[in-house]
């Protein structure tokens, strides 16, 4: 699998990363090697195999609809780099 500059720009955007030109070049080489290695999976025919998300059959794990949590804003916000009026803060999102 050939990894292009566009692909690197695209995956960096998806991962919300800013890469320097040097980092981009390195990422291109690394990803190309790694993705090509991943392509070795194509050696095996899996057309009759169902994709398996969990290694064993687990199902129906539920909780009952009962309120167990109270307000705990102090703890929720104690790691926030910035806060105001009990809220987290981001730059203006409305255009």
């Amino acid at each position: 699998m050939k990894i292009t500059d566009e692909t690197i720009t695209y995956v960096a955007a998806l991962a919300k990363l800013d890469l320097s030109e040097e980092e981009k070049d390195r990422a291109k080489t690394d990803l190309e090697n790694i993705i090509s290695y991943m392509d070795t999976m194509n050696e095996i025919d899996t057309s009759n195999v169902e994709p398996m998300s969990h290694a064993f059959p687990m199902k129906n794990v539920f909780r009952e609809d009962v309120v167990t949590n109270g307000a705990d804003r102090e703890n929720l916000l104690c790691n926030a780099p910035v806060q105001k009026e009990g809220c987290f803060i981001v730059p203006k999102t409305v255009e």
Binding site: Y10, A13, L14, K16, S53, H54, M58, K59, N60, V61, F62, R63, E64, D65, V66, V67, T68, N69, A71, D72, R73, N75, L76, L77, K84, E85, G86, C87, F88, I89, V90, P91, K92, T93, V94, E95
Partner: protein, 476 residues
Amino acid sequence: MKAYETVIGLEVHVELATKTKIFCGCTTEFGGAPNTHCCPVCTGMPGTLPVLNKKVVEFAVAAGLATNCTITQNCKFDRKNYFYPDLPKAYQVSQLYLPICRDGGIEIDVNGVKKVIGIHEIHMEEDAGKLVHDEWDDCTLVDYNRCGVPLIEIVSDPDMRSAEEVIAYLEKLKLILQYLGVSDCKMQEGSLRADVNLSVREMGASEFGTRTEMKNLNSFKAIARAIEGERKRQIEVIEYGKKIVQETRRWDDNKDTSFAMRSKEDAQDYRYFPEPDLVPIEISDAWLEEVRQRQPELRDEKMARYEKEYDIPEYDAALITSSKNVADLFEATVAICKKPKEVSNWLMVETMRLLKEHEMEPENIAFSPENLAKLIALIEAGSINRTVAKEVFEVVFTDNIDPESYVKEKGLLMVNDEGALRKTIEEIVAANPQSVEDYHNGKTKAMGFLVGQTMKAMKGKADPGMINQIVMELLQ
């Protein structure tokens, strides 16, 4: 100009009426001080894990059964990945590959024409938080109270052709969900939100046109206006020889127009994959049957029962059942006062008038059945007359006051003391000799004047029947 056909499909998000959020034990109560209805799980703090609220599955199944869907008995959750401050984990737990309900539909009726609107799928997901713009600091405040409130998204087929059909579909859907008790469907609080996918095509064309998606529609009226506006806009674009761009548009109801939402910096590539922190859901035949058995009485059944059990006209039954809240209020009030027709009248006439006056939806009615029953009892006992009762009801409607103590406090109880009433009337008759003469000269209207003067003197607190009787006696 050519003739065009409008093609509309809806994505309706409904907040479920569970007590707790979809993956944690936080309350789903609306409002609250910012970030007080959340915990490490719903705010996605590192290391925390979701556990599914069973009620969410049961509500989704109930909604699916009531909309004639096939239930996906083996379903699971997927992650939808995107960055936005209202989404603390940077992924929304949703269902892409195996939504819980598929291939349903509901029948609508527009001016007597019946039509089935297909439901493509219903899936379960978590709601996002709220962003509040801070004008002073030019920044945005993030409140996660709504984060993790359970939603079902009901995706229709592109089967609607007009705003009327869309409103009829939404009304029907809302009623079904309210009757199921699955959601309160309050649009103002955002517990029912509809996005409109709309395209136009030349009449008779077999292919669909390019569609746009409209968001930020906060009322049925806004939806109707937005559909009309977007339909016109698209036709103009096409007539102008240009192409429709597939995009998301934001409806501005104040400006009566829509704007293309600035395309996000990156392409929308949600990178869905199965949620590894949750296990698959298997809805056995037995469980499905259990939910089916528990389905409550829906509107049509309820209407028929009202006509039979309470002996009220079809018209009344239809109006009362047009809102689950009104129907519940009706039944609860009748259970106390045993006067179905009387209760029905109060709900159909005065309540509907006041709703209109206050621009409120029936689901926002806040008075209790106890207080309406008390009001009716006061009338029945002759303690207040109907004119006073209407005034008192307005206060019951707005503030849910106790009518018994209210009429006492305000001195509105009727004067049933015949002696006092007779004395007042004697004085009025004596003060109006002309009217007495007119009456004897055959002008019967004059009696009405005397009755009116009496009522005025009594400040409305007298029994009109008794006044009539005494006036008549004195005139004879």
